[in-house]
């Protein structure tokens, strides 16, 4: 699904990540951990080609990212759902329009009932007409998750999805991501919240990827 072959990324002469070799299998569930500034966000950006590896090779859904044109990158991102820590929305559009944005840019028809069902799944039915600035941190995270899955992507990447929400909302978001994994989606969650990782133990077979000293280490044991 996503493969790193001795890949690395550097900027301004400084190596941020190096010698990464790993493969994320279809339907797997991964936590990406490491201290702040270790390169978790950079790793995720390499996974959806926001950044291009400066060493080695990264292959996403069978495509070598070095050989992809700009339109191919756009097409690739329709198959990968991304939940950002800062949840980027278009503030002049309603929540429903924001969630349906991937369908809009792909010129695909929008089924309003499916959209309502999706918003009900993340518990945002009441806020369907609200504008993003009117939403709370937890609501924004759930809206970002709904937007990330509306195209039924094969991979879900979440960058600190529980960073700005309380514990109860963290569990709710984790539950939603676990449900997606049970549907066969590959899920990668970047977090430094060890409580969340332990909480997932009872729900899903997850592996931990730890970034340390610019290298990625795979935990041998399932949680």
């Amino acid at each position: 699904m996503i493969e790193f072959h001795n890949a690395g990324y550097g900027y301004g002469g400084r190596e941020l990540l190096t010698e990464m070799t790993l493969s994320l299998a279809p339907g797997s569930f991964h936590f990406l951990t490491g201290p702040s500034g270790a390169g978790k966000t950079t790793f995720l950006k390499l996974c959806y080609r926001e950044l291009q590896a400066t060493a080695g090779r990264v292959s996403i859904l069978g495509q070598d990212t070095r050989e992809m044109g700009r339109d191919e990158v756009a097409q690739l991102r329709r198959k990968i759902g991304v939940v950002h820590q800062d949840c980027q929305f278009l503030d002049h559009l309603s929540l429903a329009e924001n969630v349906a944005l991937p369908l809009t840019v792909a010129d695909r028809p929008r089924d309003d009932q499916d959209l309502v069902d999706l918003l009900a799944w993340v518990g945002l039915t009441e806020q369907i007409k609200a504008k993003p600035p009117e939403l709370s941190g937890g609501e924004r995270q759930r809206a970002a998750l709904a937007r990330a899955v509306i195209m039924s992507p094969d991979v879900i990447l979440a960058d600190e999805p529980t960073g700005n929400v309380d514990w109860e909302m963290s569990l709710r978001l984790l539950q939603l991501l676990v449900e997606l994994n049970r549907m066969g989606k590959t899920v990668v969650i970047a977090t430094h919240d060890m409580h969340l990782i332990r909480q997932a133990k009872s729900q899903v077979q997850a592996r931990v990827l730890r970034i340390s000293n610019r290298r990625i280490q795979q935990s041998g044991a399932d949680l």
Partner: protein, 299 residues
């Protein structure tokens, strides 16, 4: 306005158009500039077409007319007129020749000296109007013959003053067209700047759109639609008021000469309708160029 269709764009405010947030001041400025440029473009167009008509008229009609001026003692004038007409009527290439009456001479002088000019008391030369055939006559040969038969007759084939006038009219027409091109260039430049400003102001929007899988073409089209509509709307307003202003100019009169003939004639009144379409096309191209250039700089 927003539902008007052009062949190259659907102007309806679609979901694609709505992904870019509305902007107030820049939008009004773009419309205002497009309106001002279209207003000026109507005048440049009117100037070009009017000078074109003038050059054509001077070139076609006056090229076939010339004048013989007879300055002779009063008792010899009639004899010299007769001799001159005899020469002209037997000259190959002369279609007709006739002496102007005193009233006609007075009509020629009236714009300069007024209607109460005592023509009879002035030592004015007699004038003979000569109309050429399509083939024309041999000017040098005719001058030699006139010098022999009517020594007071001087042939003026108008080329001395007609040539610089036609040249000036042609230059004016050329300058009018150059002005139109410059206005299109200024409009394109202005819209490129406005589009760049809009792209910079919406960098976050663009990042979000790319994140969810929007292609460069999709994002560029969202901006193209907006600026094309603005350019078109402004140009419609400017072209309308420009056309009204041209229509309110005094109508063409013999006395007014060139200035009162500045405007459109017949089907030329439809030309201002082309200006908004050109403005929309220029806006479309300028925005596309600016958007694709900017988007390529982004990851």
């Amino acid at each position: 306005m927003r539902t008007i269709l052009l062949p190259f764009l659907n102007f309806s405010e679609s979901a694609q158009g709505r992904v870019v947030p509305p902007s107030g001041f820049t939008a009004r400025l773009t419309v205002l500039t497009a309106a001002a440029m279209a207003f000026l473009a109507v005048f440049a167009l009117a100037l070009s077409l009017a000078t074109g008509r003038l050059a054509e008229r001077w070139g076609n009609e006056l090229a076939r007319a010339s004048t013989v001026r007879i300055s002779a003692p009063e008792d010899q004038v009639d004899a010299q007129i007769k001799a001159t007409l005899d020469v002209l009527n037997t000259t190959p290439g002369v279609a007709s020749a006739r002496a102007l009456s005193r009233d006609e001479e007075m009509a020629l002088l009236e714009p300069w000296f007024g209607p109460s000019l005592p023509v009879d008391t002035l030592p004015l030369p007699a004038l003979i109007e000569v109309i050429e055939t399509a083939e024309g006559y041999d000017g040098e040969g005719l001058r030699l013959r006139l010098a022999g038969e009517a020594p007071g007759a001087v042939l003026d084939d108008h080329s001395r003053w007609r040539r610089p006038l036609i040249k000036a009219a042609s230059r004016l027409r050329f300058l009018g067209y150059v002005s139109l091109i410059l206005m299109a260039g200024v409009t394109a430049g202005m819209i490129t700047l406005a589009a760049n400003a809009a792209l910079a102001a919406n960098a976050q929007v663009i990042r979000t759109l790319r994140l969810v899988g929007a292609t460069d073409s999709y994002i560029a089209r969202a901006f193209e639609r907006r600026f094309t509509v603005r350019g078109f709307t402004g140009a419609v307003i400017g072209a309308f008021f420009g056309t009204v202003a041209v229509a309110l100019l005094p109508s063409a009169q013999q006395e007014g000469g060139f200035l009162t003939g500045l405007g459109f004639s017949g089907l030329q009144w439809f030309w201002p309708c082309v200006i908004p379409l050109l403005a929309a096309f220029v806006a479309f191209l300028a925005t596309r160029f600016a958007a694709l250039q900017t988007l390529r700089r982004l990851m």
